[in-house]
């Protein structure tokens, strides 16, 4: 595929994800950390406009003088921006106007891609990988936003789980291993600086913890016993009266689970989802086990299937030894978030095709649950 084809494919996928939304849904924002679909569609477009068209296409005219303000996310070097929790208030530009903005930028991009040199190609690839990140967020944010509606809205069936799970312990021997991305494909800056780490002997389980297994923890009083929890996790459980993963609701005797295709009965064999780091750790502690580190996960990942759930690791999100930030606004991509977040590895049913890889480092604050987060267990020998 040409770079233009790849660009088009990713761009179309964003539009496709929204095909069953009604106009009203595009502005939904239930809290600061989730964004409205319209904002995702516009912000990913803004990224191409500001980082490629404006600097590299001398004839390009920005679509609207205020869009840089409206659709910048967090790039301080790019000036002021709409407060993050007010994105849902920007009912103008309309959905139609945002779609026209996408078309306008796409036309300019396709034209530019004909004459493109390699620096530009790298930026385009970064741009559509950025858009793929937002495709996952678009879905998970949407799920969170629609969940507030008591009407149990169904908008898209992303098949929230796929395989029947049945696992085993895999043993990995101690020794020096190489960590980080290697190759000619795309990766983010936080995967670079391939380097050696020493791992002790460990075992990791080949499949994810299931809903059924997690229910055993709940029924054994897992949410009522401080022994299994981090101090902050225990405070979170009590302050929020947590008794189950996000989106779970007991209706009569039956546990149900809200999906983007509406509320369903909980599937016992599906991998548990929408647990935070505290819950994942507490479950592991209850089982007398632990979460893997991100290094253990990366080394072992060739030996098990993954991709349904982003998997919590017990590694904090920190720079690799050779980490360096790019100059300018793009240097703000990853490094400035390397505090108070935990690494997740894998991918999920909401991850765009081809977007993840064994060295991919996702990261979230330990209390968040709205991504498709799951649990894989490990143990020290």
């Amino acid at each position: 595929m040409t770079i233009a084809d790849r660009y088009r494919k990713v761009r179309n996928h964003s539009t496709l994800l929204c095909k069953d939304l009604i106009t009203e849904d595009y502005s939904l924002q239930a809290s600061e950390e989730v964004s409205p679909p319209k904002w995702h569609l516009a912000h990913t477009t803004w990224f191409f406009e500001q980082f490629i068209l404006v600097p590299y296409d001398l004839e390009y005219k920005v679509a609207h003088p205020q869009f840089n303000f409206l659709f910048n996310s967090y790039y301080n070097a790019h000036g002021a921006r709409t407060a993050r929790n007010q994105r849902g208030l920007m009912t103008r530009p309309s959905v139609e106007e945002v779609k026209a903005y996408r078309d306008y930028v796409d036309a300019a991009m396709i034209k530019l891609l004909d004459k493109s040199d390699s620096e530009l190609i790298d930026l385009v690839i970064l741009g559509y990988n950025h858009e793929q990140q937002h495709q996952e967020l678009l879905l998970t944010d949407l799920k969170y936003n629609l969940w507030f509606n008591p009407l149990d809205i169904s908008v898209i069936d992303i098949k929230e789980y796929k395989n029947t799970l049945k696992g085993d312990w895999l043993k990995i021997d101690s020794g020096i291993y190489e960590i980080g991305y290697e190759g000619n494909g795309f990766c983010f800056d936080n995967e670079l600086g391939r380097h050696k780490v020493y791992l002790q002997d460990f075992e990791i389980f080949s499949s994810l913890v299931t809903n059924e297994e997690y229910l055993e923890f709940m029924e054994a009083g897992g949410y009522q016993n401080s022994n299994y929890w981090h101090d902050e996790g225990w405070a979170w459980v009590n302050a929020n009266h947590i008794k189950a993963p996000l989106y779970w609701e007991k209706q009569g005797q039956e546990w149900t689970y809200y999906t983007l295709a509406g509320r369903q009965n909980l599937k016992p064999n599906a991998p548990v989802s929408h647990v935070n780091f505290y819950e994942a750790s507490a479950y592991a502690a209850w089982r007398g086990l632990r979460l893997p580190t991100e290094f253990e996960w990366e080394i072992a990942s060739g030996q098990f299937e993954w991709g349904e759930r982003w998997e919590w690791t017990n590694s904090a999100y920190l720079p690799y030894p050779g980490f360096a930030t790019a100059p300018g606004a793009l240097g703000e991509y990853n490094g400035k978030f390397m505090i108070n977040q935990m690494v997740l590895r894998g991918g999920s049913v909401a991850t765009s095709e081809g977007h993840s890889r064994p060295t991919y480092r996702n990261f979230f604050h330990p209390h968040y649950r709205w991504q498709f987060m799951g649990i894989r267990l490990a143990k020290t020998l």
Copy 2:
């Protein structure tokens, strides 16, 4: 006009107010105390459904089993309801569905009104007066919501001021006066219990404080001098870095003011608007004057023009001596708000035609500014 005609007229007016909104605007909610246009349209409809159709029309089927939950506002006796700050998240039912809900209820109401007895007529009149209250809120909430958008959206021109103002002091003699509604027309329960009050000699000014006059207060350092302010007002000024009324913004050397028809240069002769009770009181104190009580206002109101601004009084919102609440959910209409609020008298450019009267008691917390609130001065002799 028949009761059906009056009903229709009010109902149509709500729809008319929204005619230049785009679908996205209908779900806007910037904070807990403002509601989205769609919610106003639905809630006023719900009022007729729940208080008239359900109890009085035995053949009536509710439009949707969840609408009672979605569109109840605060009536505790009517069961659970959507959290007030989550009304904007209810993207479903869609705008179209809410319009269909209005049509469905209107058809049933019109049919019912043929056979209506007087109890029913009273309820219908209460219902459309309730809707008129929401018409004003629909406009003021919308203004507040759209104000967050840096694009200075224009949706409707309600002529935010009308007359050229030029006033005089009017003198009222001390004595016993009668306060409260008298007559055969409609009034709210909080106006009833007509009773005697004794007023001391006082004077009241025949026109409202203008933008130009208020600017003098600002330029004289009014917002920087604690002497003019209530203790809580002073805390509010400092905590929020207040320097001007709501919607004012200095652009270069020029003060501008956001209106529902877009941002405009401030009109010097227009009555000042969007000041809260603290600001109104501080302005009066700076002038060595005071705000009138609601009783002084009511007695003097025949001698001056009013209706552009709701006017802050120095009266707390409290029950009249004979105040009694209606039984059932309708008893929650007014009495339970009679604490920590101040009375406003008059009406505003957003008030629906025929909705106000000299005995009408509006009320808001002293820190609110998003209504068309203005200042009239008085003095004790």
Copy 3:
């Protein structure tokens, strides 16, 4: 008694109230609205120093250059001051040093009082009335602060109730009455501006609501029924899981009540205490009655006994028609608090002897409970 004798008597009473405190207790501050005993002792002294000695005694040297900053309360015109919620952190000056400060100021005051003219006498009288206000707060703040200690500390026995109560309805006829202070004695500025009000016929009960009567309300589900409550009161009940007045605790089958002399079994016949305005109003609503206005209370007060509880009225704290503030910092005494507070009339077991009178206007926000607040009922005929 000479002015010097009266001065000495009030000053000594403050010291006496603290005689069974240990040094540690003097710095206790559990929340922003309560102050430590040491601060009360110092602030009342500061009042004499700053408003009398500094301006009127040319030879006077302030005790310490920082005490004006440390012991000013809210007088904006008197410069910066310690944050209100950090008074308990000022462990220096020590208790001994504060006592020495009192002695130092007292000596200078006594010396000054020999040559005093009438303006000075008025200020001294204001000063010791101010100190008497703080004597009551010293006790009620102390009670609140010590209540957090699970050891049920006993420090002083102020006999939290005195009489056996047994009441009747008293009828007052409609007509014009005079309200406000009249005479040659001392009163606060908020009592001045004696003026006419018109009262409708009403009845008022000659005794206060008792614990036993209030328990009936609790047992009838009063705290679970929104019908009896103001909207904000109902929110307060639910947000704070309120089930009883402040200081009540059920131990086994027995209701107990924390007093400054330790925890005791609840006395059924004692007047209920430590209820806020919402609770007082809800109780009255449950009984089908109402609270009196402050005007009704003042007019009727000659016909019943009062003085055990500050009694909530249904009057907001607002200026009388002729209210005027004094120039300078003393002008901040009352007027700037005339918003969002309700008037209480009467006095309490913690009120210093001779400090209250029928025209005395106490005032608190409707949610506060830590004063000895009680309930008297009224009804419109």
Copy 4:
């Protein structure tokens, strides 16, 4: 020294630290994360009582039935406890009573230590190491608490810096190293599980960043440039208007610094102190360098002097591969805090003699500044 001698020595040191406090100071608590001196004295005593005397001395009678509630800190397995932010409100027991409590427990401990077996000795050693941790907190909490007092209180001179600093880069070669405690002495559970790590080539500076060097960062606009900061650090700077380290205050042209011996002019050559992780990282980024990891620090620590400042590392506080928690309440010592905290290595001028070592892992949330936290720089080659 016998175990009894060591016990006595540590216990006496706690008392010695407080010798110049006045009674009032013992209850000071300015915020939730700092505790009053009296509480430190009592809690460390409670530790011996509950974990040694109660289980091992059958004749022991607890000093007071409520002290377990009052002086437990966070041990969930040990039952309810005083809310952490209310420790300052516990004016009873008095300072004298807490000293008597210390004497009572000490007498019982000394008696018990005669017949002690090795399990008991291990617990006693843990107990006095626990007390030494609280000795440091007693000092740093006290400094924070007294800092609120405008009188610039001086209570103890701990010589907040000692050496003249002059450093060099030290180079460490890549390779496999051993991390964690080894030997027969005491260490905490979080240092155990000695294990291999692979380090890349790096350099580390032999001395700490000085006040003078940090001032250069400030004068170069370090607090105004988002490029140097983590996203959360930048938010912290702006939300709190941070312009300098904690305790710094510019008076005229001179920077001053509050110490436990009073306010002093800032010493240019002293190691900077009271910076949080965000500030330490931003400083390093401004210099084009980075903080060391805790592993780099531990391996290099034999080649430089340390002990004046706890030094921020860029390692999150996580368990070593072989980490295991002890059974029972003592198992809550460390593991449950292993989230959202960063590791500090070294020691400080407030650390009790003999308490730290190269493998010691201290840890705090990245935004805290009230410990004697400093900055050491490193770089990848």
